[in-house]
Symmetry: C2
Subunit: 123 residues, 2 copies
Amino acid sequence: MPKNSAKQSASTLRPRLRITCGEDIALGPGKAELLQYLKETGSIAEAARRIGMSYMRAWTLLKTMERCFKQPLVKAGRGGRQGGGATLTETGLKALALYQQMDEESLRAIQPAWQEMRRLLRS
Amino acid sequence: MPKNSAKQSASTLRPRLRITCGEDIALGPGKAELLQYLKETGSIAEAARRIGMSYMRAWTLLKTMERCFKQPLVKAGRGGRQGGGATLTETGLKALALYQQMDEESLRAIQPAWQEMRRLLRS
């Protein structure tokens, strides 16, 4: 059997920020990814396909987000609802940008401690 | 029906830092919690009980951690293996402290963006 332990054992660090509202998750890594793909593709169906989730699942995640935010995050795009065409609203773009900003700021802030932690890890 | 929507809709933000080594999760919120309770209780069984997980599950999480770190994180304590008595090693204490430090630093760094995000949320 081929050995590729170097690749297998690479240690990584990921912030996985989770914003809750009551029992719901308003925004987390999965929902942020969905918004990002929606922004890129302009289609719920296509965004879901790229992530590997069902259209129904993507729809459910979007509905949960809508409950948590004051304003809609998504509006029907040129394809209309039937085609799943959708674009991010101003609030949607803002929420996504803030999430990504928090993600980057978090990663930057923890670099010194992370470098120390890496010395304890095998890889 | 009584209304307690104020409580239900409070929005929260939690960094849920995940350190991976290859396919394994070396340290994340769940494993850090286990280490913290282990530190407090000196017992795998008691730590597991407080978290609400089985002893076997706690044991499996510890085994995964041991694969990822260069040095053991846990050593048998006064109760011995049979009693599940266990304390954190120097590496275990260091890993837990660094994780908690990263958690705090992450939260601090993202406060400005989080305050902006809150304005978009219902609560």
